[in-house]
């Protein structure tokens, strides 16, 4: 073991939880387009988010064994398992973001730590600190052009890519898991700002929020 403290921050009782957008829904609502919408926004809350740090060589085998997908070694790469529910994204040469269904993160961390033994690495649970927003619809790319400074043209941003970049005056992790969908990982404390921005910038496309 790596002599770090692990801590399962979840509890399985029926304790109410609030997503980072809970306040925003109450304050700004969840607009529904009157007619056909060119743009959908959906929060995928309460997922398990882990930050994985270490050398790629150190981590790769353990990740493959435990998660069944290989660690993306190339910059900006995003890999998913067959179901699309589990993913690992390159953030930096020694940093990856793992997103799994909510509740899987602690067992995953535990297994990884067991597998990695005394190697030098770090795993930080950030599940409470960020949320995932999903954009789809034909206007999604135009909305992103208003929002992020990174080039989201398909020739530069194919499926399977993810970057950390500037979102208006905040930061986001932007990913493209499939042809139709974009994902934005935003920090909890900035979530309301990001939400209000997306509603404002998406208004002309008739943005539709699925709650």
């Amino acid at each position: 073991m790596s002599n770090a403290a692990t801590f399962d921050t979840r509890t399985d009782t029926a304790i109410p939880v609030e997503s980072p957008l809970a306040y925003s829904y109450r304050r700004s609502g969840a607009p529904q387009a009157g007619g056909p919408s060119r743009l959908q926004l959906r929060e995928r809350a309460m997922l398990g988010h882990l930050i994985l740090r270490g050398g790629a060589i150190v981590l790769d085998e353990a990740v493959r064994d435990v998660l069944g997908i290989s660690l993306p070694g190339q910059p900006q790469a995003l890999v998913q398992d067959a179901s699309g529910e589990r993913s690992i994204q390159w953030l930096s040469p020694d940093e990856w973001l793992v997103i799994v269904p909510g509740g899987e993160e602690f067992p995953l961390e535990t297994k990884l730590r067991e597998q990695l033994g005394s190697a030098h690495f770090a795993i930080s649970d950030v599940s409470g600190g960020q949320t995932l927003l999903e954009l789809s619809g034909e206007a999604a790319r135009e909305l992103l052009m208003k929002t992020v400074i990174y080039d989201v043209h398909p020739s530069n941003f194919p499926v399977g890519k993810g970057v950390t970049t500037v979102f208006a005056k905040a930061t986001t992790i932007l990913r493209r898991p499939s042809d139709e969908r974009w994902e934005l990982v935003v920090r909890r404390s900035f979530a309301d700002y990001c939400y209000r921005w997306l509603l404002d910038a998406g208004a002309e496309f008739g943005i539709n929020v699925q709650q």
Binding site: T9, T11, I15, G54, H120, G128, Y150, D151, R188
Partner: protein, 1016 residues
């Protein structure tokens, strides 16, 4: 409002306007009509409106001169309501729409009869350039009064007085090839690049793409040029890899091929954006383009000739005359005299004649003009006066005649008799100036070319210029340059071009132009009538000559002394003429006088478009904790701490009256001291530190020791920069042997994480340690006060016994059924538990605490109460007690400095510099006002001798000051020179109201000096 006037100058045929529809508009309250396809300028000309404005300095009547971005005079105010006011609209670039309401920006009582004009006539000669530097000096006290009157004449249009109803936004664009300007060169370039498959963007400032081809008398493939334009635009529009942006001006060319495009999406429709599907459209969009390659096909601006009276309405650019006739179906007069130095100008006379109007004469500065257009003019029977120029325009509100004479350009004199030709319009052409503005934004100085009498751009990497922008004017050559530029740009981005066949253009014979800028007059420039160079700023040839006489020799000096080029047109018409005049006066060449440098923007851009969506409630992010909803509902007032909104205090309604801050804070403070309070401390920065060298890293980055901190323990730490000055503080806890949780100040969180990474990545990569921010993951709720344990015990499975869970310990367990890490650390001096749970559970835990806390008097408190309580204990706030010039020793925190640590930690060396180790540095002390009712002002300066004359030596200042409810007195923290040695001494605080407060220097700890309460 009076009845609409007739469009007396409208031609019956021709132009790209839709005569089947009529648009009505008003100018200065008078109703007029025009057609779709008109600009405001063409519609005004069609209606015979000669005077559109009054000039800035001399208040002279001014008319429309140009047909595009270079127009200096026709600057109008637009807007039918207060909020929709648009100042300084260039009428030549404003599409006409139904109901447009415009007015002149200057002129009193009106633009036709202007009293200031009288002053201009009388006073003009007393206002040479720089006259204000030479007068208004006596007496000194009067300048503000003089200035008041000078300012009255300031400005063109006016700002709206109400907030803008419109929205603006930004598009972040990336492309392989950006083509700026969709005239002949730009379209050819775009076509070539588009066929390669490259990502192409084409921006053009006009209502329609096509540039000069839309009004050209030349043919392509034997057909009118606009047919080729339409075909190319069709093809480009059908390409998925091409973005066409009409009404879009490239305003700034920035480093590494970053170009800002200003797209005016609704300005042609109205003064506010229309509403569509319930949403107000975006009025303007700013495209922030990162281009692989940029092609500048921005064309050229025609240069007017500078002659006396050249500002009287009816003086136009020759090219503008053609444009108004051919594109807008307006002949802006009846009788034309053309004054030209080149063949291009002839087109205006040919167009004028074909429109059925009278060409009185073409006056050509060349002795023997020859070329196809010259021949055409001769064939039309137009009289050509050679070796001559219009030396003066006669008339006041409209040209009535042209005075024409033979001139000797080399000797700069009139060399023959003067004849006066009656006319109402004088068109002039002095040749072309390539539009090099964007290229010069990069700082690359343009190059003068004698053969084309103009500056061409010097280019940085990844940019090409083609066509007029490159000094190439023959249509066939322009198209060829465009295609070549397109092919090269695409190739540079890895895209091979299929064949592009050039349309066949006419091969015209052209005679060479003569270098003529200022036309000589019979009188010397300083004595003759005014010859305007910069019409908007009323800069004359005489003014430039005077500036050179006074020793202003570089064009930069001359421009500044005369204000030439500083108008909203940035000297597009006048700068080259001005340089040429200066060069003549100084007997130098034009490039010796300098180059002309342009700055962004090419044409002005509304603040709103640049701001985009970053305004109103999206101006800056507001960061919220997971408990924000609760705070809002509880009626908290908020304090801005960085981008966070933190509850400042929670005013309650008492007997129907809302508490003041003072009352609320006193109540909150006593609740903590006597019962239990709760603070949302989630905003503190939290950094997860893991690795075998984590402990060593902490020892290097903090001032104090970490080697012995056991698992389960917490410790306060202080951080310095390497200059020894305190930069952050916080508690770091040992979670496991190789695992620590660091907290930082709220404002410092991001900077400290970067600070740790900096040292790790640059100086100590050998240390095995990783840092990750977990600030947002955890919500932190601080319960503090004598009843805190009882409260927590009710909802927690933790062993809270004082001996097993000691002060400065942390434990994990469940709170309200939620896994929590609880830290026994205290910023109030009371028994405190800091409960950390995953943020998604925060609201549940917080509400559970309140459910159980009521009976203990659980009271939420905000940052103000937190500050009072910590100050009573002498705890510092970094940024309040410190200001970047305070060491740990200055704070009296030697207990937090590990002088004997093996590694020379960050900040240590600097503490022994001669200034940092000197005595008498400002040191942190407590201040007890002699009068306990006094609450000293934060920021009050401290003196030892309040009777000392001003300047009074100051020994320090109050950093924090509050009323302490528990002590029922004011108290303060302060920094005082040598303060640690001055305990018990009296200091004075002289205030603005004349009072001087007395205070005693005391310990920084005002309450529970032995620190017993936090240990209970």
């Amino acid at each position: 409002m009076s009845q609409s006037k007739q469009q007396v100058y409208r031609l019956n045929t021709g132009g790209r306007i839709d005569r089947s529809r009529t648009l009505s508009f008003t100018f200065n309250g008078q109703r007029y009509q025009g057609h779709p396809g008109d600009t405001l300028a063409s519609a005004l000309l069609a209606n015979g409106v000669d005077i559109v404005n009054r000039s800035f300095k001399y208040s002279r009547p001014r008319g429309i001169v140009a047909a595009g971005a270079e127009e200096p005079n026709a600057i109008v105010q637009l807007g039918s309501s207060e909020a929709a006011q648009v100042p300084n609209v260039r009428a030549t670039q404003q599409a006409l729409y139904e109901g447009l309401a415009a007015s002149s920006t200057n002129g009193w009582p009106n633009v036709q009869r202007d009293l200031m004009g009288l002053f201009g006539k009388l006073g003009g000669q007393f206002m040479p350039p720089g006259f204000y530097y030479k007068t208004f000096m006596a007496p000194a006290s009067m300048w503000l009064t003089y200035e008041k009157y000078i300012r009255k004449a300031a400005g063109l249009g006016r700002s709206p007085m109400e907030a803008d109803p419109d929205n603006y936004d930004h598009f972040n664009q990336h492309c392989d090839v950006l083509v700026v300007g969709a005239g002949a060169a730009g379209l050819a370039a775009a076509l070539a690049a588009a066929r390669s498959g490259a990502r192409v963007m084409v921006a053009d400032e006009q209502e329609e793409m096509g540039g000069s081809l839309l009004a050209s008398r030349e043919t392509l493939e034997g057909k009118p040029a606009d047919q080729w334009v339409a075909r190319v635009l069709d093809e480009l529009a059908s390409c998925e890899n091409v973005t066409l942006l009409p009404r879009t001006t490239a305003n700034g060319y920035h480093d590494h091929n970053f170009v800002t495009l200003h797209e005016r999406r609704t300005e042609h429709l109205g003064d506010t954006a229309p509403v569509e599907n319930g949403h107000r459209q975006v009025r303007a969009r700013l495209h922030r383009v990162r281009a692989g390659q940029v092609i500048l096909s921005t064309g050229a601006h025609e240069r007017p000739l500078v002659y006396a009276g050249n500002d009287v309405p009816g003086n136009l650019l020759a090219g503008a005359v053609s444009t108004y006739i051919r594109r807008y179906g307006v002949a802006p007069g009846r009788k034309l005299v053309l004054s030209t130095s080149n063949d291009y100008g002839y087109r205006a006379a040919l167009d004028w004649k074909e429109a059925g109007c009278e060409v009185v004469a073409i006056v050509d500065a060349r002795e023997a003009p020859a070329g196809d257009w010259v021949d055409a003019a001769r064939a039309q029977g137009i009289k050509i006066i050679t070796g001559s120029a219009v030396i003066e325009a006669k008339g006041s509100n409209r040209v009535t005649a042209a005075r024409v004479a033979k001139i000797d350009i080399g000797a700069f004199k009139v060399s023959g008799p003067v004849q006066e030709l009656a006319c109402d319009t004088i068109a002039s052409s002095g040749g072309y100036s390539p539009v090099i503005h964007l290229a010069s934004h990069t700082g690359a100085r343009p190059t003068w070319r004698d053969d084309i009498l103009g500056f061409v751009p010097r280019l940085v990497k990844g940019v090409q210029a083609c066509g007029g922008a490159n000094g190439c004017y023959a249509l066939g050559d322009v198209l060829a340059e465009g295609v070549e530029a397109g092919i090269k740009a695409a190739a540079a981005m890895g895209h091979a071009v299929q064949t592009v066949t050039l349309p066949s253009a006419e091969r015209l014979q052209q005679g060479s132009a003569v270098a003529l800028f200022q036309v000589p007059h019979e009188k010397p420039t300083l004595r003759g009538p005014k010859q305007f160079v910069d019409l908007q700023n009323d800069v004359t040839a005489a003014g430039i000559e005077l500036a050179t006489r006074e020793g202003f020799e570089s064009i930069e000096h001359i421009k500044r002394y005369t204000a030439m080029g500083f108008g909203t047109d940035q000297g597009k018409l006048g700068n080259i003429n001005g340089m040429a005049i200066a060069a003549r006066c100084l007997n130098r060449s034009i490039p010796e006088v300098g180059t002309t440098v342009f700055r962004p923007n090419y044409t002005p851009v509304t603040f709103g478009a640049i701001v985009g969506r970053h305004c109103r409630d999206l101006f800056d992010p507001e960061r919220y904790t997971a408990l924000h909803q609760w705070h809002v509902e509880r009626g908290a007032e908020f304090e801005d701490v960085g981008q966070w909104k933190r509850p400042w205090y929670y005013p309650q309604k008492v007997n129907g009256k809302t508490e003041t801050m003072h009352e609320a804070v006193a109540r909150e403070c006593l609740a903590v001291r006597e019962k239990v309070g709760i603070l949302d401390a989630s905003t503190l920065g939290k950094i997860d530190i893991q690795g075998p060298d984590a402990r060593e890293f902490l020892a290097r980055i903090y001032t104090n020791k970490w080697e012995k901190l056991a698992v389960g323990k917490c410790r306060y730490g202080l951080m310095c920069k390497d200059d020894g000055m305190v930069t952050d503080d916080g508690v770091t806890s040992c979670l496991a042997e190789n695992h620590f949780l660091m907290t930082t100040t709220t404002g410092g969180a991001a900077a400290i994480l970067e600070w740790l990474e900096l040292w790790h990545q640059t100086e100590w990569p050998e240390l095995d340690v990783y840092f990750s921010s977990v600030t947002d993951h955890w919500a932190t709720m601080t319960i503090t006060g004598p009843e805190a344990r009882k409260l927590l015990a009710e909802i927690s499975d933790l062993d809270l016994d004082r001996d097993s869970f000691k002060f400065m310990d942390w434990r994990s367990g469940k709170v309200a059924g939620v896994p929590a890490r609880v830290f026994r650390i205290s910023f109030t001096g009371e028994l405190t538990f800091e409960i950390n749970v995953q943020a998604n559970y925060a609201m549940h835990v917080w509400q559970t605490l309140f459910k159980h806390g009521e009976k203990y008097g659980l009271t939420p408190y905000g940052t103000e109460t937190m500050h009072v309580l910590r100050a009573e204990k002498g705890f510092i706030i970094v940024g309040q007690e410190t200001d970047g010039s305070v060491t740990p020793e200055d704070l009296g925190m030697q207990w937090c400095v590990g002088y004997d640590k093996p590694y020379s930690w960050i900040g240590k060396r600097a503490l022994t510099r001669s200034d940092t180790k000197r005595e008498n540095r400002k040191q942190l002390v407590g201040l007890r006002p002699k009068d306990p009712k006094v609450i000293l002002e934060e920021g009050a300066q401290i003196v030892l001798d309040p009777k000392h004359a001003i300047p009074m030596p100051m020994v320090g200042h109050v950093t924090s000051s509050y009323y302490s409810p528990i002590l029922d007195s004011g108290f303060a923290l302060a920094v005082v020179k040598g303060g640690h040695q001055k305990l018990g001494e009296t200091v004075y605080l002289p205030m603005a109201d004349g009072q001087t407060h007395e205070a005693e220097i005391v310990s920084t700890i005002f309450y529970d000096p032995k620190g017993e309460r936090q240990h209970v």
